[in-house]
Symmetry: C2
């Protein structure tokens, strides 16, 4: 069996232009395959897609209820505490809401959370036990 | 500015053992860094983490409201329609709920959705316009 993996994370958004501006301000690059209905953003090895929340719910045949906590968080791992601080400030400057200011975490690292313009949660964290591979991905032990 | 990327997608789950069994049945491999509170699953270039939903909400300082549609979907891209059918069947056999049976999609591909044991939505899709790189990631044009 071929190894499974996540190829695309799609975020349902209420205002596609606003969401695109936010992520471009953070350094994500829109692929030319993007169109007026969906934006494909390139970053590292993965793809982050932005799509209308109602359309996404319809595509997945899911009921679009308002929600507080989605049960999903996305993490970007830093190489230092200073980098976490910088990413947190950069996100706020781009219009993110501060959820959890950078702080020491019980697991020995340093962590923060922001919410994007649609409430999607991003953790910016430094984990001193994590190692990166040559592609910038996390190299977890088997 | 360094290119941003998603390093980890964390799913909040109600039963960590059940969720781990489900993903292991689909071919994800748990890293030895996993413990009784969190499971780190390796697949392709990314990391999928499983963490108690209540603990995840607390970690993100978010209010844990019940929700219908989380506003987030994860996609695994196949190389053929037959592979989509196979993944869909495999997921159901592992305990997933069928949400959208494999079918032709309006954008020219072939798509299906399942919900994992905690309701997280996965799309298994074949997009004839997408190309993979040597690492199995999507190679979107700039």
């Amino acid at each position: 069996m071929k190894a499974p993996q996540i190829h695309i994370v799609t975020l349902g958004v209420n205002d596609l232009s606003r969401a695109r501006r936010f992520y471009e301000a953070l350094g994500w690059k829109a692929s030319s395959t993007s169109n007026e209905n969906i934006v494909f953003l390139k970053g590292g090895s993965g793809v982050l897609a932005l799509y209308g929340r109602t359309a996404l719910a319809e595509d997945a045949l899911a009921e679009d209820l308002p929600n507080g906590f989605s049960g999903v968080t996305l993490a970007r791992n830093a190489r230092s505490k200073a980098e976490v601080d910088a990413w947190f400030a950069e996100a706020l400057a781009a219009g993110a809401r501060a959820v959890k200011p950078p702080q020491e975490a019980f697991w020995g690292g340093y962590s923060s959370y922001i919410a994007d313009p649609d409430g999607h949660l991003w953790e910016f964290a430094f984990n001193p036990y994590f190692v990166f591979d040559d592609h910038g991905n996390l190299a977890l032990p088997d």
